[in-house]
């Protein structure tokens, strides 16, 4: 990941491989976020110019999709599935436990940016509910005790 905001040239280099594709805006946004960690505001005019779109159109696409972020992600990211199958297996109890352990409410990021707690709607692991994702790695059949183990592993990694 970049420590500072990427320059215009760096952004152009990131999107260069997608330029020949038809309808490439989403592909470019993924390329930027995968590398930078988010889609910086400075990317909007670059993309608009490259694709002959208005800046509003580019902004509109970024804001439409839950996946794209406009600021750097927290250092540790917990995403809890809140969909029906996980609710059917005590997902609410797990969520309450995680909120209490992390001292964060669902949807919040800690003030120092060290941890975020987000809801997601279905990870496709519905035959092993409840499921969650920590820093992009999926875990299923998670009990409060199992979450505590995962949390302490997370703290050891730091």
């Amino acid at each position: 990941m970049f420590d500072t905001q990427p320059s215009r040239d760096e952004l152009l280099a990131l999107i260069a491989p997608c330029k020949g594709l038809p309808g490439p805006l989403l592909v470019m946004l993924h390329a930027i976020q995968d590398r930078v960690g988010y889609v910086p505001a400075s990317a909007i005019p670059v993309l608009a110019e490259e694709l002959n779109l208005s800046r509003a159109e580019v902004q509109g696409v970024i804001s439409f999709y839950h996946h794209f972020r406009d600021r750097p992600p927290a250092k540790r990211r917990i995403e809890i599935c809140r969909a029906e199958s996980c609710q059917a297996l005590q997902g609410d109890r797990l969520t309450a436990h995680i909120e209490q352990r992390t001292r964060l409410r669902l949807g919040e990021t800690s003030a120092d940016g060290s941890m975020s707690l987000q809801p997601v709607y279905c990870l496709g692991l519905c035959s092993a509910s409840p499921a969650l994702m920590i820093d992009g790695t999926v875990h299923a059949r998670v009990t409060p005790e199992r979450f505590d183990e995962l949390l302490s592993q997370m703290e050891t990694r730091e």
């Binding site: 439409f64 794209f68 029906e84 199958s85 297996l89 709607y121 990870l123 035959s127 092993a128």
Partner: protein, 515 residues
């Protein structure tokens, strides 16, 4: 002595339960003990409660152990599991397991059996036989065979696949596309993911046959970003298929050309709706399009496009290989063939069950699913994702096919079933349906964009006992408006779980409050 062969699934559900760590531990133990072991990362068999499920190849077939945790691995070696020795995690010959033995695996025949990215194994298990047949068949005959098979779209709309293909075939255009909908966002569904991670060549083969049938040269798989495991498997499989001459230029020496690109979604449920998916593939906000024109006439980039779900396309190779009649013979009424049913939520034995249409919900939930995981009585199931109706126990004798379920006011959708025990609060589930719609609405239609938020508020008032009778009327009016005033299924079907919860479980809405 040749290396012992051990299968450890790479499927996301197995990985989420520790399969990668199990595979690493098997490798480490084998090295430490100086034993030659070849680990194959297969798909999952779909007996998810037994994952991570490890299989070893023995003279009497593949023997399974599960669920295996990394800490169990030394003990398995000590017991001699590589030779099939007995252990407390022994499950015996996996193919004799009643959950699997009593299924009719057609589309999922290879899933969990083969190495998903090995062309050689795919070919050894009847792979590319459908494509071989298609290359000998005229486009009109390919379309006719698919029509004759009775295959209907497995994404939820259940539209006859062959009729859609015929429309695309009849268009004259400089470019046609095959767009595979792999944006499997419905809660309770995972068949697409399991198929892509367990047998991706079958999807590639099905898309290629569709291309030959309608005259398309480019295909896209629109894959949800929540499926990184699928993305890795598909990327490997596409490269392997190209390398072996089954995709790209001059397919199997026929002179035909077709290629596939995977495009990732970005966390928008609405992009599973076909026109919204096309917008997203074109790089725009995933807002639904007004139909007509149909995507089959004016679809991706304005060109005729076949839009089919993963399972629909993956069903095609077997139809071409074994013939329309073999597929058509399976099923009930106007629902032909098999359906991968996905058992999720509060069940003892959740997983994937492929059966011909026509079994009952009761059979599925108790004979396969084993009843609730919690040990409490089941109270309701939701069928077909977050827009599907809630079905009470009294209707569990309904037949699982398109017509049987619509007869009880439910929809089969993509075949996902989420079970709830008697602790469920159905007013909460109805509220959740509205809240989910508000979260995922693309914003194009007012009844969906605004109505869903009003729906949450009205349900809150009903539950709190504020002007309950009047608010129940408002909720019903609101549901009617959403059903009739929305362009697509999100706004148009969100009322189904709400109204079915109200109809079958009215007591949950009137428990609290003062009136």
């Amino acid at each position: 002595m040749s290396a012992a062969i051990v299968y450890v699934p790479r499927d996301a559900s197995a990985a989420a339960l520790g399969a990668d760590a199990v595979a690493a531990e098997i490798d480490r133990q084998a090295r430490d003990r100086g034993i030659a072991v070849r680990i194959v990362r297969n798909g999952t068999r779909g007996l998810t409660w037994l994952e991570p499920l490890v299989e070893v190849v023995t003279p009497i077939g593949r023997l399974a152990y599960g669920p295996v945790l990394p800490g169990d691995v030394p003990g398995l070696f000590d017991a001699g599991f590589l030779g099939g020795a007995s252990h407390r995690l022994s499950l015996g010959p996996i193919e004799q397991h009643p959950y699997l033995k009593n299924q009719q695996r057609v589309t999922f025949a290879r899933v969990g059996v083969i190495d998903p990215v090995s062309v050689a194994e795919y070919v050894a298990h009847d792979g590319f036989q459908g494509l071989r047949e298609a290359l000998r068949t005229s486009p009109a005959d390919i379309v006719r065979i698919v029509t004759d098979s009775g295959l209907r779209g497995r994404g939820g709309a259940a539209f006859p696949a062959g009729i859609k293909w015929k429309t695309v075939l009849e268009q004259s255009a400089p470019q046609k596309y095959i767009a595979c909908n792999a944006d499997e966002g419905d809660s309770g569904t995972f068949a697409d993911r399991m198929l892509m991670e367990g047998d991706p060549f079958q999807l590639i083969e099905g898309m290629t046959i569709a291309a030959l049938g309608v005259g398309a040269s480019q295909g896209y798989i629109y894959l949800r970003v929540e499926y990184p495991h699928s993305h890795r498997v598909l990327t490997e499989a596409l490269a392997a298929a190209r390398g072996a001459g089954f995709l790209g230029q001059n397919i199997m020496g026929s002179g035909a050309h077709f290629d596939i690109e995977v495009r990732l979604g970005a966390g928008a449920y609405i992009c599973g709706e076909e026109t919204s998916m096309l917008e997203s593939l074109e790089g725009r906000r995933g807002e639904v399009r007004v139909r007509p024109p149909l995507p089959a006439i004016k679809g991706l980039f304005g060109m005729p496009t076949v839009v089919n779900n993963v399972i629909t396309l993956a069903s095609v190779p077997a139809i071409l290989h074994k013939g329309a009649e073999a597929y058509r013979q399976l099923g009930s009424g106007r629902s032909r063939g098999t359906l991968p049913l996905q058992l999720a939520g509060n069940l003892k034995h959740p997983g994937l069950v492929e059966r011909a249409f026509g079994l009952t919900l009761r059979e599925l939930l108790y004979d396969y699913g084993g009843g609730s995981a919690s040990g409490r009585p089941l109270r309701a199931v939701q069928i077909g994702g977050p827009l599907g109706a809630y079905v009470p126990v009294s209707q569990f004798d309904a037949l699982i096919d398109y017509e049987g379920l619509s007869g009880i006011g439910a929809l089969l959708g993509h075949g996902g079933i989420v079970a709830f025990d008697d602790t469920v609060d159905m007013a909460r589930m109805a509220r959740y349906a509205m809240a989910f719609c508000a979260h995922e609405s693309c914003g194009k239609c007012t009844p969906c964009r605004i109505g869903s938020t009003r729906g949450v508020e009205v349900i809150d008032r009903i539950v709190a006992g504020v002007d309950r009778q009047q608010n129940l009327e408002v909720l019903n009016d609101l549901c009617e408006t959403m059903v009739h005033g929305s362009l697509c299924g999100l706004g148009g079907m969100t009322p189904f779980p709400v109204q079915s919860a109200l109809k079958h479980f009215p007591e949950d809405f009137t428990r609290g409050g003062s009136h």
